[in-house]
Amino acid sequence: MSEKNTFKVRKSWDTAILALLFSVWVLASMTTDNFLSSINVSQIFSNSSEILIMGFAMVFLIITGEIDLSIASILALSSAMLGYSYAAGAPIWLAILIAMAVGTACGFVNGFLVTKLGLGSLAVTIGALALYRGIANGILGTETVNEFPEFWTTWGFDTIGTTFIPQTLPVIIIFGLFFGLLLHNTAFGRRTLAIGQSPEAARFAGINVVRHKIIVFTFTGFMSGVAGVIYTFRFSTAQADNGIGLELLVISACLLGGVSIFGGIGTMWGVVAGVLLASSVESWLTLQEINAQWRTIVTGILLLISVAAPVMVDKYKRARATSANKA
């Protein structure tokens, strides 16, 4: 009974996070001149592009009760492959395809290790984290590749015409819509949620859990590859330490967006709100000239609130219900 109650509260947490996001926007634009300026809004979006893209797939993974800590390393490896193959003379479209293919392959390998070999995803993806970034290191050595066609680097950095919309945003929106619909409007999405709620029950209901998880891992790898491509063009550089440490930011954004770490619960728009909330708060603090040091603390506090708030609300409601009963 209590489980159901928390579930309900969790659901409403997605709404709460959305409300929180808007109140941050209102507060921020009231206290700073240029928070809602077109440049700043554009930067909020472009700073969070990779996190959003990886987050779209990571939601599925966390909902099934697994995790992938190697995503930032996959980003680096696909970025390295992009740079390496382009420098080796491949046309840019081929290099991009290679980068995304490498990402997909890494995701598949992770899925294979976790499901077919039965290794714990938290442990094995720590190994994979070292492996993929290590391969990126090995491929590039002391080199960094930074000569890319101007068309692509402009695409990574510039906005559409004179608007504030980054040129990468449409791509992100298309992926977001695709994965959002996949999670909430298809049998695949329902199966994902079912596996997260109870893997055993899902298996008895005829879901091929192993295959499903491999697909989700592969998706995550693919999206990390896409993030690698965008990162490369956004900073016009392919090097082995690209995106280091991003994995924890993606996971925190998902959790902030109301995805349950125990699996089975999560929405796409919650995650989008979570990512935007984190980067809006960061931008707000930066504009207030609050040091990067304090921003780290705020990230932590936001995370704690995201898990504590639903529980507190739940407790409060229950306490009120009991006192009402007594009366």
Binding site: L131, G134, T296, V298, T299, G300, V307
Partner: protein, 332 residues
């Protein structure tokens, strides 16, 4: 039943031990200096901090929780201790341990209250405190860093102390702590409660185990050890800035998991995690001692980690099957 348990844990540690000895022996065969001279001492002192943290984390993970904030706690403790020492030149080693321990306990209590008191998911909570504590170091330190000059000579020389030319002081402490924790977890009620709680948390609640107290104390212990590890950090590196030990939590989790503590709780021993930590460090040290191509080192390190996890899984499954067969036989 008792014999079953015994055999099971033995199998687990034995399989790890075999992998470890294989790694050390094959490296030592190719480059004898990996084990002779300063070799063994270096390997042990390089392992000490991660091993210490993994032992501290063991009870928490056995209860199906996790503490990701330890690396931040190590950094916080190390920086604060150095700061106190720099401002009080009369400090000697024992004050360092008092301060470090106190810092660790404070962080542990915070984690404990949130996880055990409010029953929040530990992964998220400690990810949150990871950021908060690290942010705390950034803010408090105000970018000041400390070097060997500002640290008590007695502390640094304690870190250099070696017994019999092989056993450095930090690793001696690891062995002492390992023995205590192994004994406690196996022979006291509180220790065995931890396994029960981790195997089945709802059931532990129903049968009336003191879940809050055990979890809370486990976090305090874990934090305390992390605080002490901060002092060991100073002993070993004699330099500290606010990014000290950044990102090393994953190395500790890897050591614990390779050492046989399942993420689902209810299993694992202190001896296992120390072997796990040794294995992780041996792989790294061996790659350096063999002069493996610098660019591919990280990749090989990652690959070997995955292989170690897999090998352990295979060996563990084999023991499981053997146990199952034995149980069926006994039933018959």
């Amino acid at each position: 039943m008792a014999s079953l348990l015994k055999k099971r844990t033995f199998g687990r540690e034995a399989s790890l031990g075999v992998i470890l000895i294989f790694c050390i022996a094959s490296t030592g065969f190719i480059n004898p200096r990996f084990v002779t001279g300063d070799g063994t001492r270096d390997l042990l002192s390089a392992t000490a901090i991660v091993a210490l943290l993994a032992i501290g984390m063991a009870p928490v993970m056995i209860m199906r929780h996790i503490d990701l904030s330890i690396a931040s706690t190590v950094g916080f403790s190390a920086w604060l201790v150095a700061d106190f020492c720099a401002k009080n030149p009369s400090f000697t080693w024992w004050q360092c341990f008092v301060i470090g321990g106190a810092v660790g306990i404070a962080v542990g209590a915070l984690n404990g209250l949130l996880v055990a008191g409010l029953r929040l998911p530990s992964l998220v909570v400690t990810l949150g405190t990871l950021y908060i504590v690290r942010g705390g170091v950034y803010v408090v330190s105000n970018s000041v860093d400390y070097n060997a000059q500002e640290m008590p000579p007695s502390l640094l020389s304690l870190g250099q102390q070696t017994f019999g030319g092989l056993l450095p002081f930090p690793f001696l402490m690891v062995i002492v702590l390992m023995v205590i924790v192994a004994w406690y977890m196996k022979y006291t009620k509180a220790g065995r409660d931890c396994y029960a709680i981790g195997s089945n948390p709802p059931a532990a609640d129903l049968v009336g185990l003191k879940v809050f107290r055990r979890t809370f104390l486990a976090y305090i212990f874990c934090g305390f050890i992390a605080g002490i590890a901060g002092v060991f950090y100073l002993m070993r590196f004699a330099q500290v800035d606010s990014t000290a030990f950044y990102g090393q939590e994953l190395a500790v989790v890897a050591a614990a998991v390779i050492g046989g503590i399942g993420l689902l709780g209810g299993a694992g021993t202190a001896v296992g995690v120390v072997i796990g930590a040794l294995l992780v460090q041996t792989i790294q040290g061996a790659l350096a001692a063999l002069g493996v191509d610098a660019f591919w080192k990280a990749a090989i390190n990652g690959l070997l980690l995955i292989v170690a996890i897999y090998a352990d899984r295979v060996l563990a499954r084999r023991t499981e099957n053997a146990l199952l067969a034995q149980r069926i036989k006994e039933r018959v």
